[in-house]
């Protein structure tokens, strides 16, 4: 009798465990997200921004034509820099996927803050943003950090309002000089040993 009770408890615990896992890991699909936020940025189509130097301001607001209470469960807003299709071409690591867990379109966070019906943020392009074409997207997240709505600066085909970022090259003067010096040293070392070998021959 005790054994049967124990196994019933075990099964109940297991089911609870499974239930806890099933809940939050249900896939959030992009095409089912409502586009309730209106997002604009001060960048214009074709603008070129330099990483680490240039800034732009992004503004987001809830679409006023929606019934009141539509944003009841929005707790945080996360604004991201996203790759335009031209920068995703032949680059599997930037691929868009309807399953937002696997989606790699938006890889850089501009800002993440508490939700309010309108908001704006001035952003200096970070030094680790690579050279590519981008647009801006904002997600509204609920209390469990799940995406529940979005808005973006471009259209559904991601063709308008695309701007460019030019990333830093990473080639500092120090690196340049060191590379030349070390390479020259290798060549000289080889020449030195050849001279020594030839002297030995004679």
């Amino acid at each position: 009798m005790a054994g049967l009770r124990l196994s019933k408890i075990t099964i109940a615990l297991l089911l609870l465990l499974i239930a806890c896992h099933v809940g939050p890991s249900m896939a959030v699909l992009f095409n089912q997200l409502p586009k309730t936020l209106i997002v604009t940025a001060t960048t214009k189509s074709g603008d070129v921004l330099h990483a680490g130097e240039d800034k732009f301001t992004v503004t987001w607001a809830l679409n006023t034509s929606l019934p009141s209470g539509a944003d009841a469960n929005y707790k945080t807003v996360k604004v991201l820099l996203c790759y335009a299709p031209i920068s995703q071409h032949d680059r599997k690591w930037r691929k868009s996927n309807n399953d937002l867990k696997k989606d790699k379109t938006c890889q850089f966070t501009v800002v993440k803050q508490d939700y309010s019906a309108t908001g704006k943020h001035e952003y200096t392009v970070a030094r680790d943003i690579p050279t590519a074409s981008y647009f801006v997207r904002a997600y509204a997240l609920d209390a469990s950090d799940t995406k529940v709505a979005f808005g973006q600066t471009t259209d559904a085909n991601k063709t308008v309002n695309i701007f460019e970022v030019v990333g830093i090259t990473g080639r500092t003067t120090g690196i340049f000089v060191s590379a030349i010096v070390f390479s020259a040293f290798s060549g000289l070392a080889l020449a030195f040993f050849y001279v020594v070998e030839n002297k030995k021959k004679k």
Binding site: S87, K92, P130, G167, T169, R171, S183, L190, F193, E197
Partner: protein, 516 residues
Amino acid sequence: MAKKSLEVEAEVEVEDEGDAAQFKMPVDSDHKATEFWLFSFAKPHMRAFHLSWFSFFCCFVSSFAAPPLLPVIRDNLSLTTTDIGNAGIASVSGAVFARLAMGTACDLVGPRLASASLILITTPAVYCSSLIDSATGFLLVRFFTGFSLATFVSTQFWMSSMFSPPKVGLANGVAGGWGNMGGGATQLIMPLVYELIKKIGSTNFIAWRIAFFIPGVMQTCSAIAVLMFGQDMPDGNYNKLHKAGEKHKDNFSEVFKHAVTNYRGWILALTYGYCFGVELTIDNIIAQYFYDRFGVNISKAGTIAASFGLENIVSRPGGGLFSDYLSKFFGMRGRLWGLWVVQTLGGIFCVILGRTNSLAGSIVVLLLFSLFCQAACGLTFGVVPFVSRRSLGLISGMGGGGGNVGAVLTQLIFFHNSKYSTEDGIFYMGIMILVCTLPIALIHFPQWGGMLCGPKPGYTPEDYYQSEWSHHEQQKGYHTASLRFAENSVREGGRSARGSGHSKHTVPVETSPTDV
């Protein structure tokens, strides 16, 4: 003139008598070591071993320094999958011909100068990797850095000059395996150095560039060490031996002819492409695979990728030992069967890897795949030394070059563009391994047999190795080294052959002429 040559002869003889006592290790009549002391630096044999495997290791570290850092480099340079694939192909294609040329260079100037020169000439490409800013630059630096992989040939050549036949397989296997291990070590070293530099305060796009100085400095230092402390042969360096008239130079066109007309050399070149070539391909793609497919970070992806290459510390030497072990009971037929079975198992695990969807499962399958793939490399070079005696250097070069061709082909077909997903590419590569390993069944040594058929009755090893020399050359006695080798390879006939005395001269391997 006659008096002078007599003096030189006398000098050499006196040297011989004193020399054997000069060596810390026991040596045979050629002054080649008859033992292998792994943890010793005894001059000149073990010292040559450590210098050659370590410098080869450094070349592997440099040649595969980019793959673990690709997640950063591809964004800095705005690379596409095609750009990355092209550079991966370039990294292994330079060495195809460089390996052939290295064999000749070793013959002319000795392994010490040949390998150190190549290493120092390619080091600027490693340093200049920190300066690239386009896909073309990336391709060029990987191409020129990859030339250094030709030091495989000088490693094997140097070990064959320093170690006696009973130990040469082990020396070659450990030197080759520990060198190849560099392809794994780099996947640990580079992310570690990169993260460290980032912590000190650099941005990612600067940090990876600084990281490349580590393999560059390692390479420069190892080449200088080879020049300062290395020695071509037990008795001295080439220029000294050439002066004393001790080395006989063979005819290059004859050596070339006997290498390219031996079909076994070509088959082994093909099959080496599907163990070593696959190993190089995996070195290039596996870190990115784990990073992109399973979402692990750069350091974790590097660690997993490293485990593949680091298994070389035991798997390739293990393959060589296994080949020697099979030969004890089944002779050359055992070596060939062992090679086919092990390489086929490698292919099977590759197929499974392409179809494994979990991270933990992929790691386990990767480890098994690595074991069999690298052991097959060791088993291949258990057969190569017997294909030809006269053209040993060039046959080794062909095999080595074939390995790189295999790497070029698999990357070109499966990992070059976005046609196949990486997991599908791995799956199909496994199938290609299975198919391209089958030709081993076609290798037949008339004196020892092959996988499917027995030996030709009455045909001896002497007949086989003597057939590489014309009657004219045999009259001059140029073929005596080949005859000695034939005597020592009696064991390749297996247990039955030893008993029935197939060879005309049944000289047991253990007894080497010790009269000095």
